[in-house]
Every structure is written in C-alpha cells, then in structure tokens.
C-alpha cells in the first residue's frame, strides 16, 4: 500500500485481522463442505461407505462451527464496521 502507515496501533491491527477472518470464513466453509466430494460411494466401495449419521454429524457440525465463528467475529467487529457504515445512514433521501 503506497499510502497509509506501515505500523498500526495494536487495536486497529487486531481489527484488520478480524476483518481478514470474516473475509476468509466462507472459503473455509466451502473447503470443509466440499470434503464429501472425496467420500467413497456405496457402488464403488460397498464396505467403506460413509454412514448417513456420520455424514449428517459432519455437515451439521461444520454448519454450527461456521455460525459460531461468524457470530463471534460479528461480536468483535460490529462496533467497528458499524462506525464505518454509520455515515451512510445520512442518505440524502
């Protein structure tokens, strides 16, 4: 970045990394949810098939994990982003 300081205050540094985490979270979810692509299918390996209950637990587990992470990140960043968004409330209309 050509403009802006090289070193940031600890607080804003932390905030930026949290925003990075928010940005990366969907990709984490995508990768984890695409793991089933490599699971064996019953017709190819009849013995090693993944049980339905395992699959359910895995997918819903990730769902809950993502929701929790998203919620935590929102708790930590809402004030910051809220400040940034707030001026836009004064829409001319």
């Amino acid at each position: 970045m050509p403009d802006g300081p090289v070193f940031l205050e600890r607080r804003s540094y932390r905030m930026r990394r949290l925003m990075d985490a928010i940005r990366l979270l969907p990709f984490l979810g995508l990768v984890l949810w695409m793991v089933p692509l490599v699971w064996p299918l019953p017709e190819t390996t009849p013995t090693g098939a993944i049980a339905m209950s395992t699959a359910l637990k895995y997918i819903f587990g990730i769902w809950i994990l993502l929701i929790t992470l998203c919620w935590l990140l929102w708790r930590r960043t809402r004030i910051n982003v809220g400040d940034k968004v707030a001026p836009k409330q004064g829409d001319p209309d």
Binding site: M19, I22, R23, L25, P26, F27, G29, L30, W33, M34, P36, L37, V38, W39, L41, P42, E43, A49, I50, A51, M52, S53, T54, A55, L56, I59, F60, W63, I64, L66, I67, C70, W71, W74, T77, R78, V81, G82, V85, K88, Q89, D91, P92, D93
Partner: protein, 909 residues
C-alpha cells in the same frame, strides 16, 4: 380426525390474522410508530426466509427420501453466501441503496447504461424462470389440502364438500393476489419498504420454522425414541449411506448460491427492503442458523416416514401425513399452516418483485412510448404506474395458475425448484461481472444472458416436460435438427453427465464465456462506463455521476412530471427541500445537474432506473456526458495521463511563445541593424556629392585666376553632383512613400506590348545604344489594368540595370511574357554573367550595388521596384538557373484587363 372444513376455518383465521398483522404494520409505519420492530435485524433475517418455500417445507423431506443428503446443497450455498456477506452482499446492498434499485432487472439495466432492452430481457427471463416456481407453491398447497380431503380422513359432516384441486388452486391464487394487491401495490416507491408484507413474511417465517421443528421433535422424541435411536434408524434405512455424486454435490451448492443472489424475490427482501447495512452482518450468522434449523429434522422425518407410512405414499407430504397417521391433529394442522405459510409468503414476495419488474420495464416504457407528447403532458402517471403494477400482479399469479393447470400438478417438487434455480442463475455472470469488473459491457451482458438462457431452456426446462412433450425423441437421441452435438442431455457429444449437472455446467459456463469475450471485444458507451465505475467503486466513494446537462430543463416541467409520479404532496416536499438546500426558499429550485440527478434517483425508486432516465431525458433533452465527467470516473492513471498531457501542452505553448518572442527579437535586432546600416549608407551617399560640391565651389570662390574652361568644368561637376543628389533624394522620397503605403495608384489600361516598348524606349534614350533589346510579344496579346506609370518605372529600372551591369561583348536583353497560373509573368533575361547565389539574396536590399559596378546609382533601384510590385499586388524575383541575370516580374490576374481576341477568353479576375 381433522375435517376439511375445520381446516379451512383454521386456515382462513390464519389468513385474517396475517391481513391484520400486515394492516397494523402498515398503519404503524405510516404513523411512524413501532420502528423498533418493523425495522429490526430480526425482521430482516426472518424476511430472508422466503428462500425456504414449500419446496423446503414439503419438498426437502421428499428430496431426502429419494436421494439422501443431496437436499442439503440447497441450503449450503446460501449459507456460504451469507457467511461471505463481506464479498458480494455488502456491495449489492450498497448499490441498491445508492442507486435506488427496485429489482434485479433494474440493477442489471442500471449497471449497463440504464439499458431498457436489458431490463426487458431480464424481466422476461425472470418471469419464465419463476412462473413454474409459483405454480409449484400452488401445487403444494393444493396437495396438502388434498391429504385432508382423502375419503378416510373425511368426517361425516364433510361428505358434501367434494374436493376439487383446480378450484382450491384458484381460490388460493385469488387470495394471494388480493394480499399482494392490498399490501404490495399500495405505495409507488419501491424503496419505501412494504412493511405490511415484510411483517407478514416474518410471522410466516416463524410459523414455518416452528411447525417443521415441532414435527421434527415429535418424530425424533415421540416416534423414534431419542437421538441415538434416530441415528440408528437412519443408518438402517434405505438412505443409510452417503451416496451423493460429487459432481451433483458441488454443482447444486454453486447453483443454490447463485440462485440465492439472483432470485427476484430474494433480491427484493435482501436488497430492496434492506433498511440498514448492519442488518446484513447480523443476518450473516442468523440466517444460516435459520437454514440449519430448517434442514435439521428433514432426514429423521424422511426416514421415519419411510418406515411407518405405507409404501407408495408421496414422500413430499411426509411432514403432513406422518402426524396425521399418528392422529396428531393439532400438529398436522400446525404443519399445514407451516406449509401454507411457506407457499404464500414466497408467492406474495415473488409476485411483488416480478410485478415491479414487469410494470417498470415492460408496461411503463410501452405506455411512455405510446404517449404522443411524452412525459410532459398533463395527467397523473401515478395511477398508471399503480394500475400497471396491479395488472402485473394479477398477470403473474394468473400465469402461475395457468402453468399449474397445464402441468397438471405433476412432477416432484424438487425437480421444478432446481429448474427454476437454473434459470435465474443465468443472471449471475452479468450481475457479478457488473459489480466487480468495469470492463463488463452491455453487449457482453446481452450475449451472456441470451446464450445462458437458451441453453437452460434447451437442456433443462424443455426436457423436464418429458420425452415427446416439447422436444421429440429424435431430438433427445440425435440432437436438434439432426446435429449430434446439440443433444439436450449430451451437448457437444459429451455423454454420461448427470442431466442437472450437465445443464448447469454448460449454460453457466458458456454464459460466462460469452459475457467475458464479448465484453472484452466491445466498447461501452459513456453512460455505461460512468455507471460501471459507480457500481464497481460503490464502496470507495459515494460521489454521484453528473449526467445531465440541465441548462434547458424547466423546473416547472420537472415539477409537473414529478407530481404525476410521486404525487403532489411528495413532489412538493422534495422540491421544497431541494430549494432550501439551494438557498431559494419559497421558490422552485434551479435545475442544477445535482438536483436533476437526485430527482432521477427519486423517480427511479418509483418506476425503475431506465424509465426514470427516459422520462427525465424527455424534459431535459438527452444526456450529456462531458469530458470532465468521464475524467472524473477515469482511474488515477488516466487522470495522471491527462494531467501530464495538459502540462505537455502548456510547455509546448510556452516554448512556442518563446520561439515567437525570439523571432520577434531577431527581427527587431535586424531592423535596428538595418536602420543603422541605412543611416550610415545614406550619410555616405549624401556626403560624397556634398564633398565634391563643397570643394569645387570653394575652388571657384577662392582661386583668383581660373581659365574659363576650368570654371565651366568645375561648375558642371557641381551641377552633375547636385543632379545626382536630387535623384538620390527623389529615390529616397519615392521609397519612403512606397514603404509607408501612402502611394495612390492611378489605374489605366494599355496593351502590355505598348507598355514594354515605351519602357524600353525611355530606358535606352540617351545611351550609347550598345544593348540590344528583344521583346517576344505575348500570344495572345494582353491588356494591363494597373498603375502603368509605376510599372513602366519598374521595367525601365530593369532595362537600365541590364544596360549597366551586363558585361557581355554584345549585351542583349530578352523580354518574354507568358500567362502563368494566377497571373502574368514577364521575364527580363540578359546574356551577362548573372548574379552569384549570395548576391541573389540581397539584390533587392536598399543601397545594394553589385561589386565593381560602374555608374552612379545609389543602389535603390531594385528596392524601389520591389516596393512598387508589392503595391501593385505582384512581385519581382530573381530567376536562378539562367546564363545571365534574369528577373521575373509577376502581375496577378486582377491586374490584367482582358486577354486579346485570339484567346477569346477572359482571364479570371
């Protein structure tokens, strides 16, 4: 057992309750109360739940019973989109707010230069894509009603109420149309939220979640006997193992994510009805939670349903039939209301979104075009817009109903949903490309949409009707028109792909390819580039584009038009506010570009960007995107480039000025030198005769004895010197008069031949006559019309020069005349030695005398000739390239009277 009439009673009570809630919400919003509830993130999140339609409520269980966990993909995609709100939704919502976008068609058309054609195409595609989905909702309501109407569940008092599916569908459609008309088309401004509808949708969202979870809890803890037992049952069932194909898993996840962004109804609640960007952040975890809860009990219900219900019962209705079979009437009723809620909320919002699109992008442009005088004529447009919107609502619901009738209510719910998703997903490349890529062009979007949609029709929609329904068996087997690479389920000859994956893959990827390639190779219009920059940079700056050249707009005209769209009160309020901002309290505001921009946005919120743009341009008279506007949106490097080119231009100007100054300075210096030289020359020229006059007059005065011869000799010297002096002074005077331009010309006509002869005779008079002069007469003879005395003076001078300077043994002068381009040239060529190159340059300077010249000239002759010719409009020049000295006198054609009779033609004047 629940009777059909009992059910209808509960259902109607529920509908009345919804109407009441919506009505209260509308009233509270009008009175400005209850904003805490009406505009809360909770309501926003719940309103997003219209994603979960009857397809979710009934269809997910059926889907799970048929193909295991694949149903989850439909919820994983949207969850990822919500969790990744920072990437796409944040931009969408910002653009929706800053551009006052009313629908996805409006967004796409607005991005690509407010193109109405694009808006129409997107609208048509959306109607085609969503109509089956609306039919699906009607079907699900009718299907669930029919469960209650089956003979074994009918009570003794219901025997008279024969159940007709078509009638039921008709009444449901009518009720939905009524609700949408009441709460959806009340106000014109789409950006003013539809509080009634949003609240009703939120309530329905709660009802369907509670209903599905209640059934789920009943199944898990009431029927299966606990979580562990449920899992055991699941593993033991026929869907007990993971058997989803990888390609379908990935494709459907992507497809559902795309549809979540592109579905008109999702766009409506997510972007148009959004009050605050912060709600998006809350929804980013709250909405995935909702989706997760909605899909949590789907598999248990499906598995238990498969176990307990008789073989052959429709798995799409397990949610309803399972409680009924266990005689849980209350739960069944709740479940029915849940399904009813899912269907109705979806139809209401989808109809609202589609009707806005249809009325703004199809009806209004046609109406505007049909108006002879355009938008400025008197009359209220509001009722036209509202009427258009109401007609569109009825039209779309009727279309859904007709589709339901035509399709006969067949087919699995999930299949229709996927097809609909595939259709609207075709908007994705144009939409995302427009948000992130400034190079995306209108033609690119058009091509991408057209190709994607055509492929979707061919590979997904038409085959779904079955073999030989629309596409013949031949087409399936041998391809369209016998082209083997055009088989609807094996495009380009690649066989063996799952039909859904095949259709989604080919339509989306070729859509994207066409969009990108055409965008790269076409050039956008200025307004497209302006809009593109605003969309892509929406988060960087909130500056608006100045597109209007408002000087010709009349505030009154604008006011009249605005009143007709926004209504008198709103329009006056808007204009008064603007006037206050401009410091013109109590008057109409000046039509500044900023004001017109704001006005266009305001109108866009009511009738869509393209229509608003067209209406404003009718009054303002066309857009004008100036260089400054484009510069303002050009990126930094372009601005730098412009700046440096300005600098370059300036420095070039400076250097040009410096050059001019330098030239002027040189000229001045030269003039000063010339003046000095002239002064020294003239003093020298005057001094020489003066000296001899003085000395000889002194001799005459002082010498006592002088022979008469000497006296005569000295006196004649003095006499000749005074003559020379007089001639010099005459010449100088002559030159001064000529140079100052004070000379007046005495025009006269005479044949050239005579003039030349006169000059030669005069020049040679009194000389020893050594020079022979030959005049080659011109053919045809020429008559001159100029100051002949002056011209003769020039000729004499030239002849005398030849006489003086031609050092040949037999000096001869040849005078030739001929007509040349633009005039007459008279050449004087002698047979002397001519002039050297250096001499040629200075020959016309004052006081220049050829070296070694005999004679008594002061060196002014040729200078005078030069001045005379300039005065006469011609010129005299030295002709290089001859043996002797050669001068050319050029007379312009207007110095000639007529060319003689032999030529017969007039010299052009």
């Amino acid at each position: 057992m629940v009777g059909l009439n009992q059910l209808l009673f509960v259902c109607l009570t529920y509908v009345v309750f919804l109407f009441g809630i919506a009505f209260l919400a509308e009233r509270a919003a009008v009175q400005g109360r209850g904003a805490a509830i009406l505009r809360s993130p909770l309501v926003y999140t719940l309103s997003l739940s219209i994603y979960c339609t009857a397809w979710t409520f009934y269809g997910a269980v059926g889907y799970a019973a048929r193909s295991g966990l694949e149903y989850l993909t439909i919820y994983l995609g949207p969850s990822l989109v919500m969790i990744g709100w920072w990437w796409i939704l944040r931009r969408l919502v910002s653009i929706g707010r800053s551009q006052r976008v009313t629908s996805i068609a409006d967004l796409i058309s607005s991005r690509y230069g407010k193109s109405n054609m694009l808006a129409i195409i997107v609208t048509l595609m959306a109607v085609i894509g969503v109509t089956p989905y609306i039919a699906l909702q009607l079907q699900s309501v009718v299907l669930s009603l029919s469960i209650f109407a089956t003979p074994e569940t009918m009570g003794p008092d219901d025997t008279g109420a024969a159940f007709s599916a078509t009638q039921a569908a008709f009444w449901v459609a009518t009720g939905l149309a009524l609700f949408t008309l009441l709460f959806g088309t009340r106000n014109l401004n789409v950006n003013e939220r539809h509080h009634g509808i949003v609240i009703a949708v939120a309530v329905e969202a709660v009802v369907k979640l509670v209903a599905l979870m209640a059934v789920g809890i009943f199944v898990v803890w009431g029927l299966a006997g606990g979580v562990a037992e449920t899992f055991a049952r699941i593993d033991a069932s026929k869907i007990g193992a993971w058997e989803v194909q990888g390609s379908r898993w990935a494709t459907l996840t992507v497809l559902s994510a795309a549809a979540f962004l592109c579905l008109p109804r999702m766009f409506q609640v997510m972007v148009v009805e959004n009050d605050d960007e912060r709600y998006l952040q809350i929804a980013s975890w709250a909405f995935p939670t909702y989706l997760m809860l909605m899909s949590l009990f789907v598999v248990p219900i499906a598995v238990v349903g498969l176990d307990l219900l008789p073989a052959g019962s429709n798995p799409d209705l397990f949610v309803l039939s399972l409680p009924l079979s266990q005689n849980q009437n209350g739960l069944a009723m709740l479940s029915f209301l849940g399904g009813f809620s899912s269907a109705t909320s979806m139809v209401i919002v989808a109809t609202l979104a589609l009707s806005t699109m249809v009325s703004n992008h199809i009806v209004m442009p046609i109406w505007l075009a049909a108006q002879p005088k355009g938008a400025t004529q008197s009359g209220d447009v509001r009722h036209v817009v509202i009427l258009a919107r109401r007609m569109s609502v009825l039209f779309i619901i009727a279309l859904g109903f007709l589709y339901y009738r035509a399709s006969g209510g067949s087919g699995a719910l999930a299949a229709i949903g996927t097809i609909s998703f595939g259709g609207v997903a075709q908007f994705l490349p144009a939409m995302l490309g427009g948000l992130f890529w400034r190079g995306a062009t209108r033609n690119g979007a058009l091509c991408g949409l057209a190709i994607g949609f055509a492929l979707w029709m061919f590979t997904m929609l038409l085959p779904s009707f079955g073999v030989d329904a629309v596409l013949s068996k031949d087409t399936f087997d041998k391809g369209l028109m016998g082209l083997a690479w055009l088989r609807p389920q094996a495009m380009f000859g690649i066989e063996g792909i799952d039909p859904t994956v095949h259709a989604v893959f080919w339509s989306l990827s070729l859509n994207l390819l066409a969009f990108t390639l055409v965008s790269i190779f076409t050039f956008p219009e200025p307004i497209e580039r302006l809009q593109g920059a605003q969309f892509v940079n929406v988060l960087d700056h909130s500056g608006t584009s100045r597109v209007w050249n408002a000087s010709v707009a009349g505030s009154e005209d604008l006011m009249i038009m605005t009143q007709r769209i926004l209504g008198a009160a709103d329009a006056q309020m808007f204009f008064a506010g603007e006037a206050r901002r401009q410091g013109l309290e109590g008057h109409l505001p000046e039509p500044t570009p900023d004001f017109i921009q704001a006005l266009e946005r305001e109108l866009a919120a009511a009738v869509g960007a393209a229509t608003a743009h067209a209406m404003v341009s009718q009054i303002v008279g066309g857009t004008s995107v100036s260089v400054q506007d484009l510069l303002a949106v050009a990126d930094e490097s372009a601005q730098m480039l412009e700046y440096s080119s300005q600098l370059e231009q300036k420095s070039q100007q400076l250097s040009e000025t410096a050059g001019q100054l330098r030239t002027a300075n040189e000229k001045l210096t030269q003039l000063s030198l010339q003046k000095d030289a002239f002064l020294s020359q003239i003093s020298h020229e005057l001094r020489t005769p003066m000296t001899s006059i003085r000395s000889f007059s002194e001799i005459l005065r002082d010498a006592g004895s002088l022979s008469p011869e000497d006296k005569t000799r000295y006196a004649s010297i003095i006499h000749s010197e005074t003559i020379r002096l007089t001639r010099l002074l005459d010449d100088l005077l002559d030159l001064a008069v000529l140079e100052n331009g004070q000379v007046s010309l005495h025009l006269a006509q005479n044949p050239l031949q005579e003039v030349l002869e006169r000059a030669v005779t005069t020049a040679l008079a009194g000389s020893d006559g050594q020079l022979s002069v030959e005049i080659m007469s011109s053919d045809p003879p020429v008559t001159l019309n100029t100051d002949l005395d002056r011209l003769v003076q020039v000729f004499i001078n030239l002849v005398r020069n030849a006489q003086k300077y031609c050092l040949s043994e037999h000096p001869a002068l040849r005078i030739t005349t001929h007509l040349v381009e633009g005039g007459l040239a008279i050449d004087f060529i002698d047979n002397g030695e001519g002039l050297s190159r250096d001499e040629q340059v200075v020959i016309f300077e004052k006081f220049y005398r050829a070296p070694g010249a005999q004679g008594d000239g002061a060196g002014l002759g040729l200078a005078i000739c030069h001045e005379i010719m300039t005065r006469l409009g011609g010129r005299i020049s030295y002709l290089a390239g001859h043996d002797g000295a050669a001068f050319r006198v050029f007379l312009p054609s207007d110095a000639l009277a007529v060319v003689g009779e032999t030529g017969g033609n007039l010299v052009s004047t």
